[in-house]
């Protein structure tokens, strides 16, 4: 009688993914796969210079090319008040440049033609006369006296500073440092990186003049925010805008912002009255869309001789490019950087953050992390290792002394967040045991005596996911709730829609498992749809690991509403009062006579065919979920490496990951997320960065220059789990999509630095390219990743 939850694909089942059925047949439906009748094609002309005044744009030759339907410049956008648009961080961004270009790759003109080849030809026929201006490629140049003003378009913007922001208790922190036995200090750079989902960005705008309806297919992780933004930017009524985000070829934060290409394609469709498709090429994606990171840190820890951390000081300087276009909660200028040290018991902390404009692409997006927490946790774990070394203390023991204990929850973090649950010590111990810590230290000492360089690096961290509660978290004023709508049909099958947007995470599989867990309807009987703003309830989308913490909670709550109504239907069918009804998975029964029961499917049938007098027919529910707090998964990552002193090449010997993401809905998918995240961690530690020369030319504008790890370099991963359910989440889940990307990089860097620490090396900035590691190994000096500073600057 009892339903086996695993068999129906409920919670804990490693259910094979339903979305795979189309992807493995090549039947996915990505934006570029969509073909509309009469569709035109758009191509964007980008600036070759990083900073230049536009003297003139001559589009006459482009118009002469047969097949060209429209050529747009900033001046023409301006006639519709569309030359500039708001960013998600209360700044403005040029859609097509009018006065000057502010980064290499900035959008200057667009051609709409019968086919993409013709559009490209016509872009090349456009002549732009540029007057080059001095270029700023890093925050140091941006704040130099007499630096050229990048944002001269803005009122009240006398310099290149975007913001100055502070958090924490300055005087308490000063006191902690005054009492310290030792102050450990380190300067770090988290280099600029690019999320690079394998599918670039694109859109198809289809304005129907007859109905006044605008439909936009778009590569968006947050289609509802985009709909609201388009309504405001283009001054179109929101109910006449339909954003459809079909299958996405990855996102990783790159597909959250509003990009000029989207806006241009919309105006082009309105003007041509034809559907207009814009598909970005890879170079366009790399040089113009949201990057991640690019933050400098000066960090200090106040230490007591016995290993206790008394206080933290962090000073960050971030490079935001030409437009402040981070996608993040509006109250926090440097995202959730102040979640740093959340897993440690530290009485005082203070952070000062400064952001600067430079002549680089805008961004600062949450690249597979929850709003700058990747930087926060990397800085934290590098500072922790440096402090352990400065104290001459074992790095594992130093962590154990300072980690928050299991009975200390709820715990106020150094910068004021509230964490609620975790077994940090257990995760650390499990990781140390799995890697064979004590034995490795012996092997390391023995290897060193023979000239071999082995290293071990630990990273322990808890990160804030599930933004967020409406008191503190909003984007452009829209509170960061999420939503689910569940319709159960009369035959007991169901359709579920949410405000999230899957891009590889497997929502179509896992959301059905939550419903199966709550209602006992087999997961195979539930179809999941996302990404169409005309049909899905309003949500803030998928990024910052917020889907399971927020939308997943909404799914559970929507299912519980259906169960509550079904209970009334069951009472009616069983002819007893509701109070006499008990629930077991998939079935209501009479408490005094357990054999008398009705299935959830029978209740669904009754909702349409035999409801009690006075009850509304149908079995549907909607839930908008406002989480009471963030969720706080914990992880312990431990890497061992061997460095070749002759070449600086380092190999990962082992990588052990212990993740506590709370209750796991689908363990197979959770593990897939962890392995993907660890790979991005390895990528950033080893090779992945976007840099610029002194003229602002992007080095890394294609996959020949911007290195991504392949199957050959990527190490294998050993996964372990601890489960501490989230006390406030309806199903006890905490989120997992980004933990490994956030916590992983420090484990690799700590390991390589550990391999060289006896030579005097204390830091190598990422990426740890062989030449950097070789320089450190041969000189015993630190290697900084700070970009070159122009010496001939005017």
């Amino acid at each position: 009688m009892t339903i086996d939850e695993i068999k129906i694909g409920g919670m804990g089942a490693s259910r094979r993914r339903v979305e795979d059925n189309r992807f493995i047949r090549g039947k996915g439906n990505y934006v570029d796969d969509v073909v509309l009748p009469g569709m035109l094609h758009m191509e964007i002309l980008r600036s070759p210079l990083a900073h230049a005044r536009i003297r003139s744009i001559d589009v006459s030759r482009a118009w002469q090319i047969p097949g060209v339907r429209l050529v747009l410049t900033g001046d023409m956008m301006a006639t519709r008040n569309l030359a500039w648009m708001p960013t998600l961080s209360y700044d403005t961004q040029a859609v097509l440049a009018t006065d000057k270009v502010r980064f290499q790759g900035q959008e200057v003109a667009a051609v709409i033609a019968d086919d993409p080849y013709t559009a490209k030809d016509a872009c090349e026929a456009i002549i732009v006369d540029y007057e080059p201006l001095p270029v700023i490629v890093n925050p140091e140049q941006a704040q130099a006296p007499g630096a050229p003003l990048i944002r001269d378009d803005k009122l009240n913007q006398p310099d290149n500073k975007v913001f100055e922001w502070e958090v924490g208790d300055r005087s308490a922190t000063d006191r902690a440092f005054a009492e310290a036995d030792l102050v450990s200090e380190i300067s770090l750079h988290y280099p600029r990186s690019h999320p690079s989902p394998l599918e670039p960005c694109g859109s198809i705008a289809d304005y129907d003049r007859a109905t006044g309806k605008l439909t936009v297919y778009m590569t968006s992780q947050a289609p509802h925010i985009i709909r609201s933004a388009v309504a405001m930017v283009a001054e179109l009524p929101e109910h006449m805008i339909r954003v459809i985000s079909p299958d996405l070829g990855g996102g990783f934060g790159n597909k959250v912002p509003v990009y000029p290409g989207y806006v241009i394609s919309i105006l082009a469709s309105i003007l041509t009255e034809r559907p207009v498709k814009w598909i970005e090429d890879r170079s366009g994606n790399l040089i113009s869309t949201g990057f991640g990171r690019d933050v400098y840190l000066k960090g200090q820890l106040a230490l007591r001789k016995d290993g206790r951390i008394l206080g933290v000081r962090m000073n960050t300087v971030s490079d935001h490019g030409a437009f402040f276009a981070d996608a993040q909660p509006s109250k926090f200028k440097i995202g959730l950087m102040h979640s740093a040290f959340a897993c440690y018991d530290i009485p005082a902390a203070h952070l000062v953050a400064e952001g600067f404009y430079t002549n680089k692409a805008p961004g600062g997006v949450a690249y597979r992390c929850s709003f700058r927490v990747t930087e926060a946790m990397f800085f934290q774990e590098r500072m922790v290792q440096a402090a352990a070394d400065d104290l001459g203390m074992d790095q594992a023991e130093f962590r154990r002394i300072n980690l928050v204990r299991d009975d200390d929850f709820p715990h106020r973090t150094p910068y004021g967040f509230l964490t609620d649950s975790g077994q940090y010590g257990k995760c650390l111990d499990l990781g140390l045991e799995a890697i064979g810590y004590e034995q490795f230290l012996k092997d390391q000492a023995e290897a060193r005596s023979r000239g071999r360089l082995l290293g071990i690096g630990i990273s322990t961290m808890t990160e804030p996911l599930g933004a967020g509660n409406s008191r503190e978290y909003d984007i452009l004023g829209i509170k960061m709730f999420d939503s689910a709508e569940l319709r159960v049909h009369m035959t007991g099958k169901a359709i579920l829609r949410t405000g999230a947007k899957t891009q590889g995470q497997g929502h179509e599989t896992t959301w059905a498992q939550i419903v199966a867990h709550e209602l006992g309807i087999p997961a195979d009987d539930i179809v999941v749809e996302e990404g169409d703003t005309d049909t899905a309830p309003y949500g803030m989308g998928t990024y910052a690991s917020r889907s399971t913490p927020v939308a997943g909670a909404a799914v559970a709550m929507a299912a519980r509403k259906v169960r509550a109504k079904s209970r009334k239907l069951a009472a009616h069918l069983l002819e007893v009062s509701e109070e006499d009804i008990e629930w077991e998975l998939g079935r209501f029964y009479v408490r005094s006579a357990p054999d008398r029961g009705v299935s959830i499917q029978e209740c669904a049938m009754a909702a349409y065919s035999n409801m009690p007098d006075g009850m509304e027919p149908g079995l549907e529910s909607v839930s908008y979920y406002d989480p009471p707090n963030l969720t706080w998964p914990f992880a312990c990552y431990i890497a061992t490496v061997e460095v070749d002193p002759q070449t600086g090449v380092w190999d990962v010997l082992r990588m052990v990951a212990v993740d506590d993401c709370g209750v796991r809905i689908n363990p197979m998918i959770v593990e897939g997320q962890i392995m993907g995240g660890l790979t991005e961690a390895y990528a950033m530690a080893s090779m992945q960065f976007i840099t610029f020369d002194t003229d602002g030319n992007c080095i890394g504008a294609n996959f020949m220059d911007y290195l991504l790890p392949t199957a050959w370099e990527t190490p294998g991963f050993e996964l372990h789990e601890v489960v501490t359910p989230c006390p406030h989440h309806p199903i006890g889940a905490k989120g997992i999509g980004e933990c490994a990307t956030v916590g992983g990089p420090a484990a690799f860097v700590n390991a390589v630095v550990n391999a060289l620490s006896h030579l005097g090396v204390r830091n190598i900035d990422m990426p740890m390219l062989p030449d950097r590691v070789y320089a450190a190994a041969t000189t015993g000096m630190d290697v900084s990743g700070a970009p070159p500073v122009r010496t001939d600057a005017p």
């Binding site: 094979r16 993914r17 979305e19 795979d20 059925n21 189309r22 992807f23 493995i24 047949r25 090549g26 039947k27 996915g28 990505y30 570029d32 796969d33 073909v35 047969p66 097949g67 019968d114 086919d115 080849y117 013709t118 999320p195 690079s196 989902p197 394998l198 599918e199 299958d247 996405l248 070829g249 990855g250 990783f252 598909i279 090429d281 890879r282 170079s283 891009q503 590889g504 995470q505 497997g506 197979m668 998918i669 593990e671 897939g672 392995m675 993907g676 995240g677 660890l678 790979t679 991005e680 294609n702 996959f703 020949m704 991504l708 392949t710 199957a711 050959w712 990527t714 294998g716 991963f717």
Partner: protein, 174 residues
């Protein structure tokens, strides 16, 4: 002029076109195309075979991998006219609607995909590998796939998927 590729190319009459015949997934397809047309665009826009994806335009990512006379090639940097008279296999030719190729099954079984964008190219590269080497080691699989990028999975499950398929294919070959 054939209207087959009108979607991608409505070249003015003075632009020269070339007639090509390509055997795609076992079926001969003939069209008049502009000589600069890339093979991937012929497949996607011309023939509607959208399972072949474009990820980088520079032969690096492998999302556009197809089998050209049985060998994996990146169709984003190959001209369609170069395929004249040759065999091309895309993901759409791997299995039938009812019956999947063991490699397709392996990718689902071992969770070898997340967003799905790299998957067709990965599977076709794997197919060429297994035809040449039915019993590859993990290292051989990793080396064979090293021209195909994946940003989601971290490759571990992709490797397992290919090994799963190799086992299954050897078992059914008896």
């Amino acid at each position: 002029m054939s209207s087959l590729f009108e979607e991608i190319h409505t070249a003015p009459s003075e632009v020269p076109v070339r007639r090509v015949t390509v055997r795609v997934n076992g079926q001969a397809r003939t069209a008049d195309i502009e000589p600069r047309l890339l093979l991937v665009h012929m497949l996607r826009q011309g023939l509607g075979l959208t399972g072949t994806h474009v990820g980088c335009d520079t032969t690096n990512c492998g999302a556009c991998t197809v089998l050209f006379d049985g060998r994996p090639v990146k169709s984003c940097t190959m001209l369609a006219v170069q395929a004249d008279g040759h065999d091309v296999e895309t993901v759409e030719g791997m299995g039938t609607t009812g019956e999947l190729h063991p490699i397709q099954e392996g990718f689902k079984e071992e969770h070898g995909l997340q967003c799905g964008y790299c998957t067709p190219g990965m599977m076709l590269t794997a197919k060429a590998l297994l035809e040449e080497n039915p019993n590859p080691s993990e290292d051989e699989v990793r080396w064979a796939l090293s021209g195909n990028l994946c940003r989601c999975t971290g490759y571990q499950n992709i490797v397992k998927a290919v090994l799963w398929a190799a086992d299954t294919m050897r078992a059914s070959a008896g």
